[in-house]
């Protein structure tokens, strides 16, 4: 008989079997996929919450500003101290449009040992941006002994306008309740800067100064000039601050560490299911070898199955994570604190981790499978 001309061989065709095999071993594939998807969901949720929290904190700092100025060499902004003279010097600069000092502190209220307190000036733009539910902005800093609450803080402290509130050793009268977009601010309390400085015994000090420039493009020169003029200060562009601030880095690192542990379990589940799958197919793999599969093709098949399982796991895990975040955002206790924010780079990292884990889990099964000797394996009956 006459043979048609041979077409070029395509070594990738083997991988058609990957999908056939997943279909045949659905349950096994599902178990492996579940392992990966839990890892993806856990990592997604943790990192989204962390980056949401970081984002909120960043927005407190960077509202309407370009640069943050704070004390050089402090481990946390709560310990940073910028003097009123230094604030005045910043304001006097021709390239500075606005500079707003903020003093961070932690205060205790009955039943709530840790409440964030922001000491700000009456001219601070965040007071203007907020929605005043009670009291009025003009009253901020007008009288002594008054405190202003974020709407969520007002809720959990059960305080209304005009109520007397015990904060630390003092007592303040609630003179305003304002809703801010930012979860941290909304769950905190505001004091006029001088009151805050007195309360925290930090006369004349601010934690940071948020600086808005007249022309953002002169930022480089601004930074150099500020740091040259005052060796005790550091000026960072908001973006730069976010990537160098130690507390953010610790949070992020923790997120990835927990996520990677979740993945290690996912990887074990892939290793386990792939190994089972190879053990139960020893004869079948021997048949593939007799039919012309090379050792590498057999190994590739196992890796291919693991990769397909990982791909499914990523899709399901993302859906799971998104659902979890949507639920968390609606839980009243978390209200405002969870602002799920998924950075594309983080997502890419999660996807890469999923595939690396699955590939790692498939190494031993693939090695085992590629070493199956057809003659021996087929003798079993």
């Amino acid at each position: 008989m006459s043979l048609p001309p041979e077409s070029p061989a395509n070594p990738w065709r083997v991988y058609a079997l990957v999908f056939t095999n997943l279909r045949r071993h659905r349950w096994r594939a599902l178990i492996g996929m579940a392992g990966i998807s839990f890892g993806v969901a856990a990592m997604l949720t943790i990192l989204a919450i962390i980056s949401g929290a970081i984002g909120m904190f960043q927005r407190i700092l960077s509202s309407d500003s370009h640069y943050l100025v704070f004390e050089r060499n402090v481990s946390d902004l709560f310990f940073s101290s910028v003097t009123s003279a230094q604030v005045a010097a910043l304001r006097a600069r021709p390239d500075v449009a606005e500079a707003h000092p903020v003093l961070f502190g932690l205060v205790s209220a009955p039943g709530h040992p840790v409440v964030t307190c922001f000491g700000i000036e009456a001219t601070d733009p965040r007071l203007g941006r907020a929605q005043w539910l009670a009291g009025e902005r003009a009253g901020f800093g007008a009288r002594a002994g008054e405190i202003f609450l974020g709407s969520r803080a007002a809720e959990f402290l059960g305080a209304r306008l005009g109520a007397e509130l015990a904060i630390g050793r003092g007592t303040f009268r609630v003179a305003g309740i304002l809703r801010t977009e930012n979860g941290f601010e909304d769950g905190g309390v505001f004091l006029p800067l001088p009151e805050a400085q007195a309360f925290f015994h930090r006369a004349g000090a601010a934690s940071v100064v948020t600086v808005k420039l007249r022309d953002e493009r002169t930022g480089g020169a601004f930074k150099v000039a500020v740091e040259a003029a005052d060796a005790g200060l550091m000026a960072l562009e908001n973006r730069e601050f976010n990537s160098t601030y130690t507390s953010f880095r610790i949070l992020n690192f923790t997120g990835w560490a927990v996520g990677v542990c979740a993945f290690a379990l996912g990887g074990l589940s892939v290793a386990n299911t792939m190994l089972l799958s190879v053990f139960s197919r020893i004869r079948e793999i021997a048949i593939l070898r007799v039919c012309g599969f090379s050792r590498a093709q057999v190994a590739g098949l196992i890796f291919g199955e693991a990769a397909a399982v990982a791909a499914l796991g990523v899709v399901v895990g993302c859906a799971l994570g998104a659902a979890l975040l949507a639920v968390l955002e609606r839980v009243p206790q978390f209200n405002g604190y969870v602002q799920a924010r998924v950075d594309p780079a983080v997502l890419a990292g999660i996807v890469a981790t999923a595939f690396i884990t699955a590939a790692g889990g498939a190494i031993y099964p693939a090695r085992f499978a590629s070493r199956i000797e057809p003659a021996e394996a087929m003798r079993y009956e």
């Binding site: 008989m1 065709r13 083997v14 058609a16 593939l288 039919c291 012309g292 090379s294 057809p374 003659a375």
Partner: protein
């Protein structure tokens, strides 16, 4: 028929033992098979027929001796791969198909290994299935087929990549008399039609006698008897 130039199988002084020499199976075996021949390896159970076929097909390596199959050396891993993908097909006593795949999926396996295009493979498998009377069974799973149908599927699979040589190890061994005869007749017809060389291991005299040559296998030694 035994023009050495056209020899497709050549074995010289091949010996094989198991369990590090404690179980000698083949002793100084010489064998030459020419292209187009249908040769029976006829012998009792345990005489070494399967062992010899495994050595020729590269499923196992001899302790010593020279082997040449289709111009390749089955003792070398790289040659083995070429042999299995292009030059030879195996049929075993047990069909060794993948039970929960369909006939078509099983037939596609060798083509996948060789990286052949899907459309070409589809044409080839339909052609072969028609020749063995399985055209209507392509979408059925192996576990739903009869023993005879499974063995016919196994034969088609062995022929998917257009081999020159077919190594058939008791292909009728697990079938009843009638189905055994059908499968044997099919093998012989296909061999003639596709210009195949066939080495058939069998302990059944009637099948051996229907071959071109009979090589008697006894205690791991070969001797040719007149057909």
């Amino acid at each position: 028929m035994s023009d050495p130039a056209a020899a497709i199988v050549r074995a010289r002084g091949v010996a094989k033992s198991y369990d590090s020499g404690r179980i000698p199976v083949l002793h100084e075996v010489d064998l030459t098979v020419a292209a187009g021949e249908l040769v029976a390896l006829w012998g009792a159970s345990g005489s070494g027929k399967s062992t010899l076929l495994h050595l020729l097909g590269g499923l196992d390596v001899p302790d010593r001796g020279e082997l040449e199959v289709c111009g390749l050396d089955p003792r070398r891993e790289a040659d083995r791969l070429t042999l299995r993908r292009r030059e030879l097909g195996f049929v075993f006593q047990l069909h060794h198909l993948i039970p929960d795949l369909t006939v078509e999926e099983n037939l596609r396996v060798p083509a996948l290994a060789a990286g052949r295009p899907s459309r070409e493979t589809g044409l080839r498998l339909r052609e072969l299935a028609a020749q063995v009377g399985l055209a209507h069974r392509l979408s059925h799973r192996i576990q739903d087929l009869s023993g005879g149908e499974r063995q016919r599927t196994a034969i088609c699979r062995a022929l998917m990549n257009r081999p020159r040589l077919l190594l058939a190890d008791e292909p009728t061994g697990s079938l009843d008399e009638r189905n055994g005869e059908v499968v044997f007749a099919l093998l012989r017809d296909l061999a003639a039609r596709h210009g195949l060389t066939v080495l058939l291991a069998t302990h059944e005299r009637r099948f051996a006698e229907a071959c071109h040559r009979i090589i008697r296998v006894r205690d791991g030694r070969l001797d040719e008897i007149a057909a």
